[in-house]
């Protein structure tokens, strides 16, 4: 996500400093976008950065921060100015997670996992050369990043692998109802994949992913969620046991197919996909406004 922002809007110095480590998987990044009061209305964000000499002082909080507990860096949308139009006072800052004043608190999701977090900033000092582009232009970079994010979220390759896996796992049942539903899903996936290829072709000719990428996000997450439903359906009643007697670490597994218990965790976990990266309702607003012009 942050890679394209840095190589498109960053200074040469920033490119040299951050991109090689990203390419080598030496640094992990997390995303500081959502705030408790700013979800779908992202531009209303309140985390504040005040320039003080050659550094910004950051105060505020971010939420639903995926894998912040493992991240080396966070890219953050911060408010550097209170403006009439809320989008105009936003800037894009890169912050080292080891900076004093950053606190990460886990949020446990309904699948029982620790994937997301709250991140709190108290007088966090960030060198001013970690600002991307111009102060106050952060919203432009944020939207650019989101368009790229939607590509990843579409998840076509992962879904392909998971559909094949489901077919293999359930081949022995010869269940006509299940097989029909899998085929319908594959057909939808074909349409999505070629839509993605059309968008990629346009980018290859020098274009940028625009509002069309919202199609990828909406349909991609719908397909992923339906796939998780099919896993649950295939496992039937055997989804019921969840944790072993000693929790998830247990070696003693319940009866039924091996994929049963992970299926329901995945089903619950994937409810997030129609919420994150701009909820699917917001994606439809984007298409309505930017493409249909209504």
């Amino acid at each position: 996500m942050v890679g394209p922002v840095i190589y498109t809007f960053g200074t040469q110095e920033q490119k040299d400093r951050f991109l090689p480590d990203i390419l080598n998987f030496d640094t992990w990044w997390c995303q500081g976008y959502s705030e408790p009061g700013s979800g779908s209305d992202l531009a209303s964000l309140k985390t504040k950065a005040v320039l003080d000499g050659d550094q910004y002082i950051v105060n505020g909080s971010k939420t639903w921060t995926t894998l912040a507990q493992n991240a080396d860096w966070i890219f953050c949308l911060v408010r550097t100015e209170t403006t009439q139009k809320k989008q105009e006072g936003i800037s894009f800052l890169l912050i080292d997670m080891n900076t004093p004043g950053i606190e990460v608190k886990p949020i446990i999701t309904i699948d029982g996992d620790h994937e997301v977090n709250s991140v709190f900033f108290t007088d966090v000092k960030v060198p001013a050369d970690q600002l991307i582009g111009e102060e106050g232009k952060g919203w432009t970079y944020a939207k650019f990043l989101l368009a790229h994010e939607r590509f990843g979220i579409a998840g076509v390759p992962v879904v392909k692998v998971q559909i094949d896996r489901l077919k293999n796992l359930t081949a022995e049942y010869n269940d006509a109802d299940l097989n029909r539903k899998i085929a319908e899903l594959e057909i939808d996936l074909e349409a999505l994949e070629f839509t993605e290829l059309r968008t990629l072709a346009a980018i290859a000719e020098g274009g940028h992913p625009g509002a069309e990428s919202s199609i990828l996000k909406i349909r991609g997450t719908e397909i992923q969620q339906r796939l998780t439903e099919l896993y649950v359906e295939a496992a039937g009643q055997y989804i019921l046991p969840y944790e072993g007697p000693d929790g998830f670490e247990s070696n003693r597994t319940p009866s039924g197919p091996e994929y049963a218990s992970p299926s329901v965790a995945q089903y619950l976990n994937y409810r997030k996909t129609s919420i994150y990266g701009g909820s699917n309702e917001i994606q439809k607003n984007i298409i309505a406004k930017a493409i249909l012009g209504v």
């Binding site: 949020i107 359906e233 039937g236 009643q237 019921l240 007697p245 009866s255 409810r271 919420i275 309702e281």
Partner: protein, 369 residues
């Protein structure tokens, strides 16, 4: 057609509602889930004192002689609060079988269920038979003149707390319901947490010796009794689902009125309004089939079995739609384990998986037509 509840039924509903308001908020429930037994013994004792454990039993066995209507009243309220106490397994499932069986001591066993002293679970599922419960592998055999039981039973609700099990097994090649003490030699129990925070267990029987008195139903009688128990159990979890649907859409409406984005409550947005209307419509449609099925079961209508399948399908589909949209409209908060809303989705998912899922009952309905 009079579809009004009686004063007595309304009083029961009020009583359960009050109990849940006082003793069953989300934090109380979390504490219960974390306990070793997975339910509250205090609550269970209160259920006994309030007479709830006696609801479906005949007067001659110390019960109130209430029927499916009263059970659905109870379960609807349980569903709103996501009650986890093992009422379904111990009172509805085991109670129905015992009361209609030829067990020679059934009165004294039912007495102990009603007093809250004993919990009993039905062991019907197995690792490899899906929903074809009568195709079970657990079976009796005679070795050295001793009748014994071998096999595995899965997904036994509340197994860790049961003092006795009613096991569906083959005896002389026919289906049989066999009553077995939890403490008996050769029976090992492994307990698991379920996806919705309840508990279930896997039972392994290795040469467990039984006497013929413990076979409380056999052959076609056993299967008929088992099916009767299934129908009533589906009705009860469907009522529970209706309660959970009700709570889900109402909590969602409340949340969207409070949550502000774009300088206004998100309930102002028409797309969300329509989504919540869909949730409401599905709740009402489910309630309709629930009432239809309840009345048919109550009057032993021959169409009841089919209506039960229709109900189970509606519960599965509506539960999914309502559970998913409730989470969606709560945004990130919906997938947070600290909010109750995601726990309704888990319960809908568990309910769909039990006693035949949506696809199973679509096929059953189609075959029965």
């Amino acid at each position: 057609m009079n579809l009004n509840y009686s004063d007595e039924q309304n009083m029961l509903r009020e009583q359960v509602l009050k109990f849940c308001e006082t003793n069953y908020d989300f934090i109380d429930r979390e504490k219960i889930l974390e306990s070793d037994s997975g339910f509250s013994k205090d609550n269970w004792q209160q259920f006994a004192e309030l007479g709830w454990l006696a609801v479906p039993f005949k007067e001659e066995n110390g019960g109130f002689n209430f029927g499916p209507v009263e059970l659905t009243v109870l379960f609807e309220e349980f569903g709103k609060a996501l009650v986890v106490e093992p009422y379904l397994s111990s009172v509805v499932m085991s109670g129905t079988i015992i009361e209609n069986s030829n067990h020679k001591n059934k009165s004294s066993i039912i007495e102990k269920i009603i007093s809250g002293e004993h919990q009993i679970s039905v062991a019907y599922a197995e690792p490899n038979i899906g929903y074809k419960f009568f195709d079970c592998y657990a079976s009796t055999s005679v070795n050295n003149n001793i009748l014994s039981l071998n096999g595995t039973k899965s997904l036994v609700l509340n197994a860790g707390n049961a003092s006795q099990f009613i096991v569906l097994a083959k005896h002389d090649g026919l289906s049989a319901l066999i009553m077995i003490d939890a403490e008996v030699d050769g029976l090992s129990i492994q307990s698991f947490k379920t996806i919705d925070g309840q508990t279930c267990g896997e039972l392994t029987f290795e040469n467990v010796s039984i006497d013929t008195d413990s076979i409380i139903a056999s052959g076609v009688d056993a299967e008929a009794l088992f099916n009767k128990m299934m129908d009533l159990s589906i009705l009860c979890i469907s009522a529970e689902a209706v309660g959970a649907m009700n709570a889900s859409y109402m909590k969602t409406v409340q949340y969207t009125k409070e949550r502000e984005q774009f300088s206004q409550p998100i309930s102002n947005f028409q797309v969300l309004q329509h989504r919540m209307v869909d949730m409401f419509i599905e709740t009402e449609l489910t309630k309709s089939l629930l009432i239809k099925a309840t009345l048919q079961l109550d009057s032993n209508d021959p169409n009841a079995e089919n209506t039960i399948s229709a109900l189970k399908v509606q519960v599965g589909k509506a539960g999914r739609l309502i559970g998913q949209n409730a989470v969606q409209l709560h945004g990130g908060m919906g997938v947070s384990n600290e909010m109750s809303i995601g726990h309704y989705l888990k319960r809908f998912t568990a309910i769909d998986s039990m006693f035949g899922n949506t696809q199973y009952h679509i096929n059953k309905y189609q075959t029965n037509q």
